[in-house]
């Protein structure tokens, strides 16, 4: 069966060019980039050129870009490292209640080590208030960590204003940009960030690769110990094939970022119009203005997300809801509940996330499947 993939916020299908960029490094060009012989030197140079591309994309210098195993490692490194280098100045950290578990659970572990964390609430659209951030700052606040856009509802946070405040108060600022990198333009200078996490597999690159942008690497610390890769900051033999695929994915994203946005915007409008037309009682979550157009969070009436996702799956449509527990069962989303939604409504909420390969026909078919289901129910 041909699938309709509407779960791009979970991961994306690697671009053919990205896959092709990896193949030589899975086959012939396997040498360790740290070695002195020329095949290795060639690979190391290629990694450098990708680092430079990514740096250019973010408006920074290559020496601030460090390859990691992905968004989770980048978040852990930034938050834990920042807490460590600032520990003599203070122990207070500000974040939000809708962060990704990679940030939330790192913060929780820091709490058990004596740090104090303020988790700011968000409004019903999922936006954290800049004045709340300002009010939460204490003398011993050392770090603010706020995600660029939320992975479940797509809401874009006012990180530029937060960055300005943090910068003015001498507080480090981390932005988890896993959901936005490659999807909306990012200028780390403009955002006033000290750290920014990004991932490859959310932008049509391979899994297992990401970056951490570090504004001042010379005053930062590593959390993994080992060899001298990544300028001594992140040990371990480079995941060469993934870095190659990631580099290609970044270059593609750079050339088509505006087209991608326009495409998602068009599909979003169609999706919302059609759902409103065909399905009684649908409710759209998140901000209308400040949103990643590819993420659409919808609360349905009288049917759980679990049931609806199975109906969609049996029609070859891939979508998701909330988060999954270790075993794979769907849990009501902490993000939706932070936006003031009750647990029951959260359990009726589905996330659709569109991407490059989706067409208007995909959306029309998906809404038809949902509409048919509701029509069948109202009959019986």
């Amino acid at each position: 069966m041909d699938h309709i993939y509407l779960d791009h916020a979970a991961t994306t299908r690697p671009d053919t060019a990205s896959v092709e960029a990896m193949l030589p490094y899975l086959n012939g060009e396997y040498q360790n980039p740290s070695a002195i012989y020329q095949p290795a030197v060639k690979i190391r140079a290629k990694i450098s050129s990708i680092r430079a591309d990514i740096a250019g994309f973010l408006n920074t210098s290559p020496s601030s870009i460090f390859f990691t195993s992905g968004g989770t490692e980048s978040d852990n490194w930034a938050v834990r490292g920042a807490a460590h280098i600032m520990r003599s100045k203070g122990r207070h950290i500000i974040s939000t209640s809708i962060e990704h578990p990679a940030v939330l659970n790192t913060l929780k572990s820091l709490e058990s080590e004596g740090y104090e964390v303020t988790y700011l609430p968000v409004d019903k659209n999922g936006i954290v208030s800049v004045s709340d951030i300002e009010a939460a700052i204490k003398d011993d606040t050392i770090l603010i960590s706020v995600m660029h856009a939320n992975n479940e509802i797509g809401t874009i946070e006012p990180v530029e204003q937060i960055g300005r405040i943090a910068n003015g108060r001498g507080i480090l600022f981390h932005v988890d940009a896993v959901q936005t990198f490659g999807h909306i333009p990012i200028d780390v200078e403009k955002l006033n960030v000290d750290f920014l996490s990004a991932s490859s597999h959310k932008i049509y690159g391979p899994k297992g690769c990401g970056i951490l942008y570090i504004k001042n690497p010379s005053s930062f610390v590593k959390i993994l110990y080992g060899g001298s890769q990544e300028n001594g900051m992140r040990p371990g033999t480079e995941n060469v094939p993934a870095i190659m695929g990631f580099g290609e994915a970044v270059n593609i994203a750079r050339t088509r970022i505006n087209d991608d946005l326009a495409h998602d915007m068009k599909l979003r409008k169609l999706f919302m119009d059609k759902l409103t037309e065909e399905v009684p009682g649908v409710k759209f979550n998140g901000s209308k203005e400040s949103v990643l157009p590819g993420i659409l969070s919808v609360t349905f009436e009288g049917v759980t997300a679990e049931t609806l996702l199975i109906i969609l799956d049996s029609n070859g449509i891939c979508a998701s809801a909330g988060s999954a527990c270790a075993a794979g069962a769907i849990e009501p989303s902490h993000v939706l509940m932070s936006c003031g939604m009750d647990k029951e409504s959260a359990s009726r909420t589905v996330r659709f996330s569109t991407g490059r390969e989706n067409t208007e026909e995909d959306i029309i078919f998906t809404v038809k499947v949902i509409g048919d289901y509701f029509r069948g129910r109202s009959k019986s």
């Binding site: 679990e306 199975i310 799956d313 527990c325 270790a326 075993a327 794979g328 069962a329 769907i330 849990e331």
Partner: protein
């Protein structure tokens, strides 16, 4: 395409073969594992339980091998409310509930069946050793499995006629050895997995600690007394005891003593001899009629008051709309309030209910 059936898959051999048999019979099979308990909350998750991560991984592998769609469905809220909380509450009231029966009734059938009908299924199926049949009187009932040693009809007595009409239990047609052999022949990795045992959400059978951690109390502390009310010693809470219990009483009397009665108001736990536990009459309520519409007062049925007990001849009398009196031909041991009494005619279930008292 055949009828659509959702198979509740625990990752064990029985439900795996159940899915395999139905697929071979031409059904459109979907596999589902019910996530009912968070392993972090204790108990479940260990080897042999039905909802730990390893159980889900086994079930998922079997579903891939059978090439059927597979889902993990979340039933934690209903399980916590209708099974675990009830279990703890009733234990604190001096009643000894059977959580497997409550799980079958409220979670596996009410909740799972409803959810499966929602996704367009015609049936649900389980790997129970029991057979669903339709009697000449038009009613559905559950008949003993062909595999006598594995018979699981007792824990299924509460299923309604509507539920039975939408349930398949293909495993009941076979012996356990045959089921294992079929699993092996088909190359299912779970062919030789151990059977699950005991209550899935409690570790090491330590009910008292579990109830204490759930409810903050292990029942009323009080005295051990003998039949005449003479105080024999003290204990830390009534929830530590169940009728018929001998081990772990925490009191040494120099002779074998058994819990004969629990009074949660006074905290008195009455100890007596094994003989004191035998009674011929019990009363039960919350009655579910299965193979017959009502009990025939003159007929000799057989009754079972626990899973592993052999059935004993009995007569059943209706006391009121929802209460029956069961009189056994010979005394039965430790009929315990909260446990089920299941009444059989031949080898099928006539009906059953929850024991409220014995005399």
């Amino acid at each position: 395409m055949g009828s659509k059936v959702v198979v509740g898959m625990s990752g064990g051999v029985d439900s795996s073969v159940c899915a395999m048999l139905l697929k071979q019979q031409g059904y459109d099979v979907i596999g589902a594992t019910m996530q009912i308990w968070d392993p972090e909350e204790g108990g479940a998750g260990r080897e042999g339980s039905c909802c730990g991560v390893s159980a889900v991984e086994d079930a998922r592998l079997v579903a891939q091998k059978l090439d059927i769609p597979y889902y993990v469905m979340n039933f934690r809220d209903v399980f916590r409310e209708k099974v675990v909380n009830r279990f703890a509450d009733e234990y604190l009231e001096g009643i000894t509930p059977n959580p497997c029966i409550a799980c079958n009734r409220f979670v596996k059938w009410e909740a799972l069946l409803n959810r499966c009908l929602e996704i367009g299924a015609d049936y649900i199926a389980t790997g129970h050793y029991a057979r669903i049949i339709k009697l000449p009187n038009g009613r559905y009932t559950i008949r003993h499995s062909l595999s006598d040693s594995k018979d699981q009809t007792y824990v299924l007595y509460s299923l309604t006629q509507d539920q039975l009409a939408r349930t398949l239990m293909p495993v009941g047609q076979y012996e356990k050895d045959e089921i294992r052999k079929m699993a092996e022949e088909f190359g299912l990795s779970v062919a030789h997995k151990k059977d699950s045992q005991d209550i899935c959400f409690i570790e090491d059978g330590d009910y008292a600690s579990f109830i204490k951690s759930m409810k903050g109390t292990a029942g009323t502390p009080g005295n051990f007394v003998d039949r005449d009310g003479f105080v024999l010693g003290t204990h830390e809470g009534t929830a530590r005891f169940t009728v018929g219990q001998r081990k772990g009483l925490g009191i040494a009397l120099g002779h074998r003593s058994y819990v004969c009665d629990i009074n949660t108001t006074s905290g008195d736990v009455t100890l007596g001899t094994d003989g004191d536990l035998y009674k011929t009459v019990l009363y039960a309520n919350d009655i579910n009629m299965m193979g017959v519409e009502s009990f025939d007062e003159d007929r000799v049925y057989t009754g079972k008051i626990r899973y592993s007990q052999t059935s004993v001849n009995c007569k059943v009398k209706k006391i009121d709309e929802d209460t029956i009196k069961v009189e056994f031909e010979k005394p039965v041991r430790a009929a315990t309030p909260g446990q089920a009494v299941v009444i059989y005619e031949d080898d099928w279930i006539a009906g059953g209910g929850t024991i409220i008292k014995r005399q």
